[in-house]
């Protein structure tokens, strides 16, 4: 069943955050309320201290400022604890560059809610969820195994979703292919004279 438009469940999770320029990181409680009234990305990955995860998390870190500029918060999420996030952040050069909140989901409440929890492994699939300001899933993708994700494409998707949310049915797609039938004129001059 599609998760599009699903409202995320209430949650409370610990996050490790080391803001840009901060000397030390800190722990902070994040709840569903933090995700409301703005755009958010929940970026699940299997586990800390794995190989592919830091590369895609670093990719995301490099674009974090751009996400912030368009009013979108990034949350990486794994089923590790916030203490493990801290240890990884302090021990990996790539992960050490992350300035967005790293959410801990050791009870898998978030991963289960969004159906990316692998029960047998106790880890999350590589799922990316774009959450709209009403706390609902606006777009998502789940990749099998070690297929990494593209932060540029994620940024484009968030921008596109924001655009559609803002302009709704006021716009039409800019789409035309060579060979499309030429449109006939229609006349309706009522209201002109």
């Amino acid at each position: 069943m599609s998760l599009i438009n699903k409202e995320i469940a209430d949650f409370s999770a610990q996050a490790f955050i080391k803001a840009a320029g901060a000397e030390k990181g800190k722990f902070k409680t994040i709840t569903k309320a933090d995700l409301l009234d703005k755009w958010s990305v929940l970026f699940f990955y299997p586990a800390d201290f794995t190989f592919i995860c830091p590369t895609e998390l670093e990719d995301l870190a490099n674009l974090y400022e751009k996400f912030q500029n368009i009013g979108c918060e990034i949350y990486s999420v794994s089923c590790d604890t916030h203490f493990v996030h801290k240890a990884w952040h302090e021990n990996s050069t790539k992960v050490g560059r992350i300035t967005y909140p790293m959410l801990a989901d050791p009870t898998a409440a978030l991963a289960r809610d969004l159906d990316v929890y692998i029960e047998a492994d106790g880890m999350a699939e590589r799922g990316t969820f774009i959450i709209n300001p009403k706390g609902r899933v606006a777009a998502y993708e789940v990749n099998a195994g070690n297929v990494g994700r593209n932060a540029d494409e994620l940024l484009r998707k968030v921008e596109a979703l924001q655009f559609v949310a803002k302009h709704g049915d006021e716009v039409c797609p800019a789409k035309w292919q060579p060979g499309d039938e030429t449109l006939k004129p229609s006349i309706d001059l009522v209201g002109l004279l």
């Binding site: 655009f163 039409c172 789409k175 499309d180 449109l183 002109l192």
Partner: protein
């Protein structure tokens, strides 16, 4: 469309009613080239001018891209150029543009008209449309009405079908898309907006 008639016979009576109300004649300068659009514009403007003596056309080889440029009876440029064959949803817009510059023009709110005339700095507006977009004519008609009222406002209408490169150039996300003063503020306005909303957007640019 080359070979077929652009303006169906069934449209002629309604168009005659509009042309009969023109207070002044208008001139269309058609900038043509050998592209499909250039050839179509040449044929369309000739067909239209053949319907009435209130419309005169001049043909001019396009220096850059093809388009139909509209002029008041006194020779002043109206600041309206169609880089689009006014088919589909835009046929009515084009007839409205002619009526606006021929006078008396489409009646609009008196206060809005006064405000539109108060704009004293240049507003060069590009509008990107598709001929199948039902939201586009609302914006095109409002912007060109403002251009007909104020020499500081100019409007160029581009049919995306012939200028698909604009999608990448402006990172176009949909139509209608207005780009105001590309060289300076480069303000983008997306979506269907009424005259008063668009006027407020223009007045907002200092």
């Amino acid at each position: 469309m080359i070979g077929e008639s652009f303006i169906p016979q069934s449209f002629h009576p309604q168009l005659a009613q509009v042309f009969a109300r023109f207070e002044h004649p208008v001139r269309i300068v058609t900038h043509y080239d050998q592209s499909d659009l250039g050839k179509d514009l040449q044929k369309f403007s000739s067909e239209l001018a053949a319907l009435t003596d209130k419309i005169a056309i001049s043909l001019k080889e396009a220096a850059d891209i093809p388009g139909m440029e509209l002029f008041f009876h006194d020779g002043r440029a109206a600041g309206i150029i169609y880089h689009a064959l006014p088919n589909g949803q835009e046929f009515n817009s084009f007839i409205a543009a002619l009526y606006n510059i021929a006078g008396p023009g489409k009646v609009i709110d008196v206060e809005a008209e006064k405000k539109a005339k108060t704009i004293t700095s240049k507003k060069a507006i590009k509008i990107i449309v598709t001929l199948s977009c039902h939201n586009c004519p609302v914006v095109v008609q409002a912007m060109q009405r403002m251009a007909s009222l104020n020499d500081n406002i100019s409007v160029e209408i581009f049919d995306y079908a012939h200028f698909a490169d604009l999608k990448d150039k402006y990172d176009l996300k949909g139509v209608p898309c207005c780009i105001i003063n590309e060289e300076d503020e480069r303000k983008f306005i997306y979506g269907k907006k009424e005259f008063s909303e668009l006027l407020a957007e223009l007045l907002d640019i200092k």
